[in-house]
Symmetry: C2
Subunit: 272 residues, 2 copies
């Protein structure tokens, strides 16, 4: 198996770049071949998520490409597409999500690798996106299979040792994974993304302090979601349970997204 390891797809997430450079420093060899790619060097220089458009929305039929990231997307496509079997794309979040692996396709090798990772490191939370396979416009669609590694909480432009070392461990596990290995098809806990919860349209509403940092906790009807200066509270109206994640992620504020909503499932979506 040939693995493409991508770090720094977002310029203000230096943990992934550090992890790539640690692999360069130590020069170990692994079960699988791999090659590293630095996603967005110019955005890193400017300490921004992106310059002209989000490089992690620039692939597949729903790609949005502009300016510098448009060029980078083309270049990475030339270098990676058709030459690698599996993509690992390294990210961080300002949300309190711990260690997560995100599936955005139903390829059997993606699901096998996710199962393997959960068995080896039970502290990893598995997330399956709402838009899968051809609907997905993320970078790891450059390969038939792949996982996005998303770890937090860490502020943008901050390197956190624990997250560097743990992300390094996750990547090491995947680089050493024998993809021919038969992983048992037992039930597996996966958070299936359902949608986005936006901020109230009126100004002056914030995520309620009890929700802050509470990623993946169960929310039921009446759970406090938002608060304002008069201490008024907006509560969850639906019955639930729902599971919030990406709560107060810095990058999602521009789309007025307060958090994403998931349900808990016991299996991945069947391969299409």
């Amino acid at each position: 198996m040939k693995i493409a390891l991508v770090g720094g797809t977002h310029g203000n997430e230096p943990v992934g770049i550090e992890v790539m450079s640690l692999f360069k420093l130590t020069k170990k060899s692994f079960t699988n071949d791999y090659q590293s790619f630095w996603g967005n060097p110019k955005a890193f220089e400017q300490k921004r998520r992106y310059i002209d458009c989000d490089l992690n929305r620039a692939f597949g039929k729903n790609a949005i490409r502009k300016g510098y990231e448009g060029e980078r997307a083309k270049k990475l496509e030339e270098e990676i597409k058709g030459s690698f079997d599996f993509c690992i794309d390294l990210h961080t979040t300002t949300s309190n999500m711990g260690l997560t692996a995100i599936l955005n396709n139903t390829h059997p090798l993606t699901q096998k690798a996710a199962r393997f990772l959960k068995l080896e490191m039970p502290e990893v939370t598995l997330i399956e996106e709402d838009k899968l396979d051809k609907e997905c416009n993320h970078l790891n669609r450059l390969c038939p299979a792949g996982l996005t590694i998303e770890v937090g909480p860490v502020a943008n432009n901050v390197v956190n040792a624990e997250l560097v070392l743990k992300t390094h461990k996750i990547v090491e596990k995947l680089l050493n994974f024998d993809f021919n290995f038969e992983v048992k098809q037992t039930p597996i806990e996966v958070y299936k993304m359902l949608g986005v919860r936006k901020y109230p349209e009126k100004k002056g509403w914030y995520i309620h302090p009890s929700l802050e940092g509470a990623d993946f906790t169960e929310l039921k009807k009446g759970a406090p979601l938002f608060i304002n200066i008069d201490r008024e509270v907006i509560e969850l109206e639906e019955e639930g349970p729902i599971y919030p994640f990406f709560i107060n992620e810095a990058a999602y504020l521009e789309h007025q997204s307060a958090f994403l909503v998931a349900e808990k499932r016991q299996a991945f979506t069947d391969p299409s």
Copy 2:
């Protein structure tokens, strides 16, 4: 007393801007007159600390001025200098510093306001900078007296309700403070900044997980400071005690600053 309230001096610290807009929404009146100023609107649009140079290093005889922030500094100088007695400049940090008020001058009204704040809200930590009065190049040198309010932890470009509401409370206290009031000259806990601790020059060293988030805790000889991928540790060599703060602040990484170092004192520096 006329107070200048400045928020968004750094473009990626939206908490201060939210606090200003809450005061606009509620339109209360206070003991002191005040006017709000949005420090760096263009950097906010671009979600960056600054465009061309740090607006919070652009004042006084040690000012560094370039491009857009050079223009903004001149404009704010025209609007604020000579017209206001006291400046409150609102900031956030990615470090786990809680609520802090930073003194960077020895003006009696600065020290009086800091004492008052500590009496009213004992959870506020007082910090005195190393460079005071004419040596200081921060924005609040636009007024004879003033405080920088620095709260955290919060990631850049994130609005945290608790920090918004608490910063709002601090500002409200200061706007209602009778500056003629005689505050008792009892001993007062203040962290006096002594210097900067830089990262090791060699690549691949990170702030030790036990130091992460440990702002204002006492460090003595042997305390772990840095760690690398081989789990080697660099420890504090001096006897101590020292008190670290601004640990892993995103903006200080560009100067290789791992944290700032303070000692604990029982009094402010005497007015010069």
